[in-house]
Amino acid sequence: MSFLNANTYYIAAFGLIFIGLYIVMAKKNLVKVVIGLSFVDSGINLLLISIGYIKGGTAPIFSRPGISPLKMVDPIPQALVLTAIVIGVAVLALALSLVVKLYQQYGTLDIRKIRGLKW
């Protein structure tokens, strides 16, 4: 129980990454593969933010006087993840447009029936 308490966010991040990778490798439907990619994306963002967390800290915003700068969490992973999320949705839309074009070409979403994607 103490292990679970200490590592909750790491377990969440790695759980999402591994479930996403399993979907990418084992599923045969292309839209589902893209859903798995979005899970991997969320998991990596969660891992970065949880590495930057400091126990007892608060958000790095000087919104009212009296907030000590020594009790703040790390702002750099937040700044990186902030842009990565918006980039992620644009790349996801690009992948889905490729999926739509593949469906118009081959008439199926099953990667076993598309020549060149089978493994």
Partner: protein, 228 residues
């Protein structure tokens, strides 16, 4: 067979990854760079939100690159989905109901106003250009879903996007001309926690908000209309 191979691969990956991650304890202070940003932020930039000053000033080149990636993704999607301009939809679509139509017309300006509030106040409260742009694009997605006849012209979106990108680069170049390096904060810093403060941060974040909003709205419009 694929599932077994995938599980074996994931087990090897898990075995390899637990060792380095167990060296990183959760919840302790680790990085020295952040201390400089947090303690010197008010005197150097004048923004109340440290994340904003890291995104716009300390790592402004990084943000310029990310905006460029977003632009390239939008261009790639538009060129993949390119169709010659002709009427292709032979399928009859269901009209949206009166309640949805009226509600969307009422909510669309409010969502735009809220997105503008988020990116104008980016240096004071949580939020900023990326979040505000995403909220504005959500408002356009609502219009695309409910009122199909009110099409947003892609030419206007392109003009807004280009002007916003040029504003970003131009503000950076003015800093280069006056002070000696790109993205120098040449405007006065003002007092903390006021709307007109923090130098060039609000200008650049408003530009990023317009750029992200028009790009994501263009992506959704292309996905919905360029394919049959």
């Amino acid at each position: 067979m694929r599932k077994i191979i995938a599980l074996i691969f994931l087990a090897i990956l898990l075995w390899g990854i637990t060792k380095p991650v167990s060296r990183i304890p959760f919840g302790t202070n680790k990085i020295k760079v952040a201390e400089h940003y947090i303690t010197k932020d008010i005197t150097e930039t004048g923004a109340a939100n440290v994340v904003t000053s890291v995104v716009v000033l300390y790592r402004g080149f990084d943000t310029l690159g990310e905006v460029t990636i977003l632009f390239i993704a939008a261009i790639g999607l538009a060129s993949i989905l390119y169709l010659p301009r002709k009427k292709v939809s032979d399928e009859v679509l269901e009209e949206s109901s009166l309640i949805l139509r009226t509600g969307c017309r009422f909510l669309f300006p409010l969502i735009l106003l809220f997105g503008a509030y988020i990116f104008v106040h980016g240096h004071l409260t949580p939020g900023g250009g990326f979040q505000g742009g995403a909220i504005i694009a959500s408002g356009f997605a609502l219009i695309f879903l409910s009122c199909r006849e009110r099409v947003v012209s892609t030419v206007k979106l392109g003009v807004v996007e280009s002007l916003a990108g040029m504003t970003f680069v131009a503000v950076g170049l003015i800093g280069l001309a006056t002070g000696g390096y790109f993205l120098l904060s040449f405007l006065p810093k003002g007092t903390l926690n006021m709307l007109f403060s923090a130098g060039i941060i609000p200008v650049i974040y408003v530009a990023i908000g317009f750029k992200v909003g028009s790009e994501l709205a263009g992506i959704i419009g292309n996905l919905m209309e360029r394919t049959q």
